[in-house]
Amino acid sequence: MAGAGVIEEYVGDLDLRLRGPAHVKADLLAEARDSLDDAADSYRDRGLSAEAAERRAVEEFGPLTVVAPGYQAELAVAHAATTLRTVALLIPLTSVLWELNQRFWIGPWAGFDGPPPPDWYLFAARANGHLPWVISSCAVLSLLVGRLLSRYGVSGTTLGRLAGGVAATCAVLAVSCNLAIVTGTAALDAERLLMPAPVLGAAAVFYVVLIRVGVLAKRCLALSAV
């Protein structure tokens, strides 16, 4: 194996230019290094010195400005897939966790004293119930559409931006819907918000997941900005 350090330096520079999931990046860089080693071995077998063979292999591999965007696009799309899987799994899971806690510690919701709640409140309550599943379905659908778009040559950076947009929209919708029902409940019967600690804890977990989704969505856009 060649060992003049030219390949090492090139792969190091490529590493510095790329941002994204560490395991995917390590895998891409390992493959790049293997390819460069193979090429250098081949040139050494044809009589070049170790350093000349490595330089030739690096030259053939291409300038970093040409090569790095393709790698970055793959990192962006890998992060996008992780983001959509997080949305698809964690949002309904934390919602179910809250529902179970609420049923165990509070039981079925009692009706409001006095006049029935306004239509907008009932709408917000129903939306809150359905939204986690709608969001999960959207994320799964986005993963499938992403795979289909890949077949039509849509770039990884475009897919990353789309996934970031979908995830951010899902997080904003979930927060808006949740805040609407909390605000509505506070206006109609504020005492209902004084829930047992485990139920409030489950609500906090729900918000932590939404914040995490927001961060992942922002990173989707940052990794796709090449």
């Binding site: 293997d34 193979d38 053939e60 090569v67 795979r147 077949r151």
Partner: protein
């Protein structure tokens, strides 16, 4: 041949190199150069992201394996990849037949 001219055909070329069986990345590059008589001149570093894109599209699968004592990621065509390659070949034949009909026959219209 310049890399700009190849860019639109790179996916089909990569699928074609895998038609005979699974290959690791550098062997795919060697096959491209050998089968083109050395005319395909593109930065080899652009091949690996393209292979990952094909994997994402479900046209190839890959796994790490040991080849000649070195760990390498090896790619092979999937059923969807075989169908995509067949479609690309049919489209290419249609294209070259049409272009050859215009460019390949000498001056047109033929002069007496």
């Amino acid at each position: 041949m310049k890399s700009d001219a190849l860019r639109g055909h790179l996916d089909a070329l990569l699928l074609a190199t895998l038609d005979g069986g699974s290959l690791h990345g550098y062997a795919i590059i060697e096959a491209l150069q050998r089968r083109s008589g050395g005319a395909l001149d593109l930065p080899t570093g652009t091949v690996y992201p393209a292979l990952r894109r094909l994997e994402r599209a479900g046209h190839v699968t890959s796994e790490w394996s040991t080849v000649a004592g070195r760990k390498r990621r090896t790619y092979r065509l999937t059923g969807a990849g075989e169908r995509a390659l067949s479609d690309e070949r049919a489209a290419w034949r249609e294209f070259t037949t049409a272009i050859d009909g215009v460019l390949g026959g000498g001056p047109w219209p033929e002069r007496a």
